[in-house]
Symmetry: C3
Subunit: 267 residues, 3 copies
């Protein structure tokens, strides 16, 4: 039984996600479908890239991830399918796989990309505005039924990659930026556990600067401080985050995506 995950910016009110599931289950009845998110900010490929990269490694081998955040639908942007190690991807070739691909390359996973150019694997009628239903869902169903990537498209080697910000060293520490704000208002940076490395052995010597606030020390978990306090800690995916215990840091600090997020080391 193959798992197919769905991530879109379609929202939950209009039935479009349900329609994709109808197409998939009609063609591949033994699929297990899992929603990753349908509340990606409209056209925000970068947010979808982040959630895909941190979610896919928790799925079993041969899972197929459909991601449809697709400002270029109906234009010349390519429809893509990919293998990244044991995980598979179907969706527009717009860079949404960038972070998962970087992770796969570090792990040395086998990679494979195809341009979906064979209409015999799509719905008979393809609209100009809903390729999630008309191309990506039927292709994923064919893959779930055992078709290979090469069967459904022509090999390519140049998938689109996003240019994403990376943290850089400063005289006193590291300068990164805000890359995600979650449902709780936790503010995540692109500074990761591997950037901090040996500094984490003395977490009380670190300070985080965000939106005009300075937070001393890096704690282990929310409950290490009193409700209402600002804290810095490592989130569940290894990124450095700022939170308010039982509250919303984003609301408290009026933080926005792409703001600077810096760490300094002192004695």
């Amino acid at each position: 039984m193959t798992i197919v995950t769905l991530m879109t910016d379609f929202g939950l009110k209009d039935g479009n996600v349900g329609v994709m599931k109808g197409v998939i289950l009609g063609m591949a009845p033994h699929t297990q479908i899992v929603d990753l998110s349908h509340l990606i900010l409209p056209q925000n490929v970068r947010e979808a890239a982040l959630i895909l990269a941190r979610s896919a490694p928790y799925f079993p081998p041969e899972t197929i991830h459909i991601v449809v955040v697709d400002p270029g639908v109906g234009t010349t942007r390519r429809p893509l399918a990919a293998r990244l190690g044991t995980q598979r991807f179907v969706g527009p070739d717009n860079g949404v796989i960038t972070l998962l691909l970087e992770y796969a390359e570090k792990q040395g996973w086998p990679l494979e990309f195809v341009h979906l150019d064979k209409p015999q694997f799509w719905l008979p009628e393809v609209s100009n505005v809903f390729h999630g239903r008309d191309i990506f869902s039927p292709v994923a169903a064919h893959l779930a039924n055992g078709k290979t990537l090469q069967a459904v498209g022509a090999p390519i080697t140049d998938p689109v990659r996003l240019a994403l910000p990376t943290p850089h060293h400063t005289p006193t520490g590291l300068c990164g930026e805000v890359i995600h704000i979650d449902h709780f208002g936790n503010v995540a940076s692109n500074i990761r556990v591997e950037h901090l490395a040996e500094w984490l052995s003395a977490p009380e010597k670190l300070s985080v600067h965000l939106s005009g606030a300075e937070i001393h020390g890096v704690v282990k978990t929310f409950g290490d401080r009193a409700p209402g306090e600002l804290v810095a800690l490592l989130g569940s995916t290894g990124n450095l985050i700022v939170s308010v215990v039982n509250g919303s840091a984003a609301e408290r600090l009026k933080t926005q995506i792409a703001e600077p997020f810096t760490v300094t080391l002192h004695d």
Copy 2:
């Protein structure tokens, strides 16, 4: 493995949709349940009718669609089950099937309606306010397990139909109205591809008038214009829509449901 879809105005926070799934899976464990939408505007039978009609044709034969948008729960309105061609429906008899029924009639699909009047197919206790749990879920489970429509209710021939607005011709074109605003702020009209017919061979000669704005030409897809531009195009279900590329037309134009949406033809 039968698919059961669920559409309600229950929202997602209170657990009521989950309870319906518990009832269905307890009685018919091999069912695949798919959510169509639980964010139908409260008591808005017309919105649910639209989403049902455009979604159901993408589901495999023998799918059962439960739709519970039910201002009349606990009163004399009838509980209904229906067959519309290969698709089945279970829910209150309040007109929510109107558009799917019109489509089925055009296709010449076989039709069948029953009044759900046999309490032996319901939960033992039936509340006055949650027939989705107590009547419609167990009836759908019995249908999924192989019961016929006639087994669970008495035949009727007069299901409730909504009186829905249809577009009319004007000296210069067509006058319709706004019937749906989606998650992206795309504004859909009841003017459909079949109303426009031969006019679509010269889409640059059409203009759309909506909420004080005039849009020249009908494009093929969003990416045909620059981000931020107002465009008119055919949506994925064949309805004429107005959008802002990578933005929200409804927000830009302050458009509301039921506003006039007109098309004119010029030289």
Copy 3:
């Protein structure tokens, strides 16, 4: 095929619920997963307790309910698994089972509790902030695969219980409080059908007082009054509620959780 339900305060946009499903399905592929709610107010254990108690009895035997509303994640609060009659629970030991446990005790259901203290049943790496993914999902998968409670933890007898408000008698009736406001704006109290008992034989002699409004009589269902009217009635779980027919009582009355909700009896 075992059912696993999920209830969290994670929201729906960040992919965390999907990741939990990936972990569960990777370990126990034949599980059916049902979402109860992911919109519990952040850290609101009491709201989750209410929804768990009213939902669990509608699920088939051996269902496993994972509830992760977990302000104490990463601190010394215990991870817990429990059997309450035919239903099973996995989640933090923070009192979220209180109401279901009280119900189970009244029914005389067998009870069993274990402290999840065996890391061999967790993911290899456990973060300090996401035990839903790293502890509770894999433990639920082991239970779904046939492990007993005793296999995954050490027996305990003192699960945390919340101190929840109960209604008390007054000279003229009953004084309770508001415990839930649903998606429609229906306001539910902790006054239940069993508290009202014989009074319900003369529902026209009851008055409900809420947020400055007085509502005469208790009706059977919404449709018994005209749209826009305030009504009092028994909700689908046996609690006394106040509603506006086809509208929102919470919005009309500006009602908040924990406000007084009283019933008086007159001649």
